[in-house]
C-alpha cells in the first residue's frame, strides 16, 4: 500500500513539473519577456531580437520581417532578409523614420505556408507591427493575405509573381507578368524563334505564367511544341530532355524553381545541348542561382528580370558595394534582393510623407518615387504594384548578366493583364470583380 502511494506521489509530481514547464513556456511567449536588450545590441544581432525587444513607442517603430530562414526556401530568402536588414540599418543611420528608430522583429516562416500565416498573425497581433516585409513563394503570400487583411496590416512582398491579385493590404515590389513574362515572350518571338517549349515546376506560378504565354503565342501565331511540369524539387530531367530532342523547339521558356534548375541545366549541358542549339529563357534564375548552377552551363542563356547586379546606375554601384561590405565579397545581388532593399525604403518614405505608420494613411501616401538600384520605381496607387524597368540579360562566363534589351522606361504594372486583349480569357472573371 505504501509503495502504491509513492507511485501516485511521484506521478503527480512528474505531471506537475510538465504543466509548470508548459505554463512557463506560454508566459514566456506571452508577455514578450522583460530583458530589454540594449538598442545597439538589437541592431547588431537582429536575429536574436525575436521576442525580447521592448518597444519604446516614443522612440522606436517595430517592423516585422518574415522570411524562411529554414527549410527549402531558406537559401533564396536569407539574402532578401539580409537586404532588408541592410536597408533598415541605412535608414536608422540616417536618423530613422519620423525621428524614430526602426526595430526589426524577425520571424522564421520555415518554408511552410501555415507557419507564414501563424507568424504574420503573431507579428500583427502580438508585436503590433504595422508593416511586414516578407514572403517569397506564392503559397506564402496567399497564406499571409487573409491575415494582413483581417488585421489591417501591410505586407511588402519582394518577388516577381503570377499576377491576378491586388490586395489593398499588400504592396507588390516584384514584377507583375506584364513586367517580366510578357515582354520576354515578345523579345523571344522577335529575336530567337517562334517554336516554344514550356517547362515549369508544378505550382501556381508556372501554371498561370504558362497560360499567359500560351495565349500570347496564339495571338502571335507562334507554335507551342510541348508543355511539361515537374514536381518542386524534381532532379531527373532525362525524360524532359529527350522530349526536347524530339520536339526540337527554338526556345525553352523555363519557369522551374529552386534546386530543379541546377539539375535541369547540368543535364541539358551533359546531353550536349548548348545555347547554340536552343535558347533557354528563365524567370527564376538570378545571380544567386547562377552561383549554384555554375556559370559554364548557363552561359549564353537568358533571363528576364528588372534588375541585375551589372545594371548601370549610380545607386546600384553604391548598393552592390554596401551589400558586399556587409555580407562578404563573394556575395552577389539579384532582383529579389534589390526589391527587398528598395521596398523598405519605399515604405519608410511613405511613412515620412504620411507622418504616421498607420496603415490607411501610409497607403494614401504611398504613390512615391524612389531611385532604386535598378532605376526609378514608383508605386501605382491603383493596384499597389510598382512601376519597373524590364531588362533581359544574357548570362556570361563570369556568372553575371549582360543586358541585351530593356524597356527604356518603367513599365506600368498590370497584374490582371487588362491592357492585353488576348489575356481576357484568363483574367476576365477576376478583373471584373
Amino acid at each position: 500500500m505504501k509503495k502504491g502511494k509513492k507511485t501516485e506521489h511521484t506521478r503527480l509530481i512528474a505531471g506537475f513539473i510538465g504543466l509548470v514547464c508548459f505554463l512557463l513556456m506560454l508566459t514566456a511567449c506571452g508577455d514578450g519577456g522583460e530583458a530589454a536588450s540594449d538598442q545597439a545590441e538589437a541592431q547588431m544581432h537582429p536575429s536574436e531580437t525575436g521576442e525580447e525587444v521592448n518597444i519604446d513607442e516614443s522612440e522606436q517603430i517595430p517592423v516585422g520581417i518574415l522570411h524562411s530562414l529554414s527549410g527549402t526556401m531558406a537559401m533564396s530568402e536569407t539574402s532578401v532578409y539580409e537586404a532588408e536588414m541592410l536597408a533598415i540599418k541605412e535608414i536608422n543611420e540616417a536618423g530613422g523614420v519620423l525621428g524614430k528608430e526602426l526595430v526589426p522583429i524577425v520571424e522564421d516562416g520555415a518554408s511552410e505556408p501555415n507557419i507564414f500565416s501563424e507568424r504574420a498573425a503573431k507579428l500583427l497581433q502580438q508585436d503590433e507591427v504595422d508593416v511586414i516585409f516578407g514572403g517569397w513563394t506564392s503559397a506564402s503570400r496567399k497564406a499571409m493575405l487573409p491575415v494582413v487583411e483581417d488585421n489591417n496590416g501591410l505586407l511588402f512582398y519582394p518577388v516577381q509573381y503570377e499576377g491576378m491579385e491586388a490586395s489593398p493590404n499588400i504592396f507588390y515590389a516584384g514584377a507583375a507578368p506584364n513586367q517580366q513574362i510578357v515582354p520576354a515572350v515578345d523579345w523571344l518571338l522577335e529575336n530567337e524563334g517562334t517554336e516554344f517549349f514550356l517547362l515549369g515546376s508544378d505550382y501556381v506560378f508556372p501554371r498561370v505564367a504558362n497560360q499567359i504565354i500560351k495565349a500570347q503565342l496564339e495571338e502571335n501565331g507562334a507554335a507551342l511544341v510541348d508543355e511539361q511540369y515537374t514536381p518542386l524539387g524534381h532532379t531527373d530531367y532525362n525524360t524532359v530532355i529527350s522530349r526536347i530532342r524530339e520536339s526540337e523547339p527554338e526556345v525553352i521558356f523555363n519557369t522551374l524553381n529552386g534546386d530543379s534548375n541546377v539539375a535541369f541545366f547540368k543535364q541539358l549541358a551533359d546531353a550536349g545541348i548548348t545555347s547554340d542549339d536552343v535558347t533557354v529563357l528563365s524567370v527564376s534564375v538570378a545571380e544567386e542561382e547562377i552561383r549554384g548552377i555554375g556559370a559554364d552551363v548557363l552561359a549564353g542563356h537568358y533571363a528576364s528580370w528588372n534588375y541585375y547586379q551589372t545594371t548601370d546606375t549610380p545607386e546600384n554601384e553604391e548598393f552592390v558595394a554596401k551589400y558586399k561590405e556587409a555580407y562578404g565579397d563573394d556575395r552577389v545581388t539579384g532582383d529579389p534582393i534589390e526589391a527587398g532593399y528598395f521596398m523598405v525604403h519605399l515604405w519608410a518614405q511613405a511613412v515620412e510623407a504620411a507622418g504616421t505608420t498607420e496603415v490607411d494613411a501610409v497607403r494614401e501616401a504611398a504613390a512615391i518615387e524612389f531611385n532604386a538600384p535598378g532605376g526609378p520605381v514608383v508605386i501605382d496607387s491603383d493596384n499597389q504594384h510598382v512601376y519597373k524597368t524590364v531588362r533581359i540579360g544574357e548570362v556570361g562566363e563570369d556568372g553575371q548578366f549582360t543586358e541585351v534589351w530593356n524597356s527604356d522606361e518603367p513599365v506600368k504594372p498590370d497584374p490582371f493583364l487588362e491592357e492585353y486583349d488576348w489575356a481576357s480569357d484568363i483574367s476576365g472573371t477576376l478583373a471584373g470583380e
Binding site: 501516485e8 505556408p113 487573409p146 508544378d202
Partner: protein, 360 residues
C-alpha cells in the same frame, strides 16, 4: 501489484483533471493570438490520441496519418472556401481554367455534410487501406513503409490537381464559419472550447476502450499477435477497426485545425508532418493516452517558443530536446515519474518497462 495499478490510474485521472482545468482557464490569461495557437495544439492533441491507440497500444506504426488529418482538413477547407466565395467559383479555379464547380465541392457546401464527411471519409479510406493490408498480413515495417508511400501519393495528387485542390498554395482566404466571422476573437474562443471539448470526449472514450476487454486484445496483439490468432481471434479485423477509429479521430482533428489556422496546404500533411505526429506520441510517452496529449501540446509550444526567440537557430534547440528525450526518457515524459521513483527506491528489478506500458 493491484494497488499499484489502481493508484497509477488514479494519478493519471488527476493529471487529466489538472490538465483540463488548466486548459479551461488559460484563455482568460492569454492573448487572443496565444489562445488560437493553443487551440491548434489541442487539435494535434486529438490526433495523437488516435495514433496512440494504434501505435502505443496495438503496436502498429503508421507514418501516414497526415493523409487522414489532411482529408478532414481539406474537407473543412472546401466548405469554408465555399462559404467565402458564397457559392461562386473560388479564385484559384478561375486561373486554372475551371468553369464549373466539381461535384464534391457542391456537396460539401452543406455544413452538416461537411462535418460528417470530415470524419467518415477518412474512416472509409482507412477501412479500404486496412482491409487490404492487414488481411494480407502486411505487417510491421512493411506497413509503415506503405503508409509513408501513401502520403507521397496523396501529396502528389493534391499538387497535380491544382484546379480542384489549390495545388501547393492549398486552400486559404476563408471568411466565415457557419455564418460567424472567423477573424472575430469570440468565434475563435468558441472554436477553442469546442476543440477542448472534443479532446476530452475522445480521451474519455478511448480510455474506456482501453480499459475494456477490447483494449486487452489490442495490447495482446502488440505483445504476441500469433498467440492471439491461435486462440481464435481474428486479429486483422481488430487492426482494421483501430486503424479506422484513429483515422476518424485524425479527420476530426484536421477539421478543427483548419478552422483555427485558416489555411491547409500539402506541406502540412506531407511526410515530415506525418513523422512529427509520431514524435509527439513518443515524446509524451506511448501507450498512456494522456502522455501523447501532453507531448503534442508541449512539443508544439516548444517549437513556437524556440522559433520566436531564436529564428535563426531554433531547429537546433528543438533537435536537441528530441535527442535528450529519446536518450534519457525512452518511455517519454510519462516515464519521468517512474525514473525518479526508480532512482529513489532501493528495490531492484520489480517491473520491466513493457509491463508498465500495459498497466493502464
Amino acid at each position: 501489484m493491484k494497488s499499484v495499478v489502481a493508484n497509477y490510474m488514479i494519478s493519471r485521472k488527476w493529471l487529466l483533471l489538472a490538465l483540463v482545468i488548466l486548459l479551461i482557464l488559460l484563455p482568460f490569461v492569454l492573448s487572443d493570438f496565444r489562445v488560437n495557437l493553443l487551440g491548434r495544439y489541442l487539435a494535434f492533441a486529438i490526433l495523437v490520441i488516435g495514433l496512440d491507440l494504434l501505435w502505443g497500444y496495438m503496436g502498429v506504426l503508421s507514418l501516414g496519418h497526415g493523409i487522414f488529418f489532411g482529408l478532414g482538413a481539406y474537407i473543412m477547407g472546401i466548405h469554408l472556401k465555399m462559404e467565402a466565395s458564397s457559392g461562386g467559383l473560388p479564385d484559384f479555379m478561375m486561373w486554372s481554367g475551371m468553369t464549373e464547380l466539381p461535384w464534391f465541392w457542391t456537396v460539401l457546401q452543406h455544413p452538416v455534410i461537411a462535418i460528417l464527411a470530415g470524419i467518415i471519409v477518412p474512416m472509409i479510406i482507412a477501412v479500404i487501406l486496412g482491409f487490404f493490408t492487414f488481411r494480407n498480413r502486411i505487417q510491421d515495417v512493411y506497413f509503415t513503409i506503405l503508409t509513408q508511400a501513401l502520403v507521397m501519393v496523396t501529396v502528389t495528387l493534391l499538387i497535380s490537381r491544382q484546379d480542384v485542390t489549390g495545388g501547393t498554395n492549398g486552400l486559404t482566404g476563408f471568411s466565415t464559419i457557419f455564418g460567424f466571422s472567423l477573424s472575430d476573437p469570440a468565434t475563435q474562443r468558441v472554436i477553442y472550447y469546442v476543440t477542448l471539448g472534443c479532446l476530452v470526449i475522445i480521451l474519455l472514450i478511448c480510455s474506456r476502450l482501453i480499459n475494456s476487454l477490447f483494449g486487452k486484445a489490442l495490447i495482446a496483439i502488440r505483445d504476441g499477435e500469433n498467440r492471439l490468432r491461435f486462440s481464435g481471434y481474428d486479429t486483422s479485423m481488430f487492426k482494421v477497426l483501430v486503424f479506422t477509429i484513429s483515422a476518424g479521430i485524425a479527420g476530426l482533428a484536421g477539421m478543427l485545425f483548419v478552422m483555427q489556422v485558416g489555411i491547409i496546404s500539402p506541406t502540412q500533411i506531407g511526410i515530415i508532418p506525418s513523422i512529427e505526429m509520431i514524435l509527439w506520441v513518443a515524446i509524451g510517452g506511448r501507450g498512456t493516452l494522456i502522455g501523447p496529449v501532453i507531448g503534442a501540446i508541449l512539443t508544439n509550444s516548444a517549437k513556437t517558443f524556440f522559433s520566436e526567440s531564436y529564428p535563426d537557430i531554433w531547429l537546433y534547440f528543438l533537435g536537441a530536446v528530441f535527442v535528450i528525450v529519446v536518450i534519457f526518457l525512452p518511455g517519454g515524459l510519462m516515464s519521468l515519474g517512474k525514473k525518479l521513483k526508480r532512482r529513489n527506491s532501493n528495490e531492484k528489478g520489480q517491473t520491466n518497462s513493457k509491463a508498465d506500458y500495459s498497466a493502464s
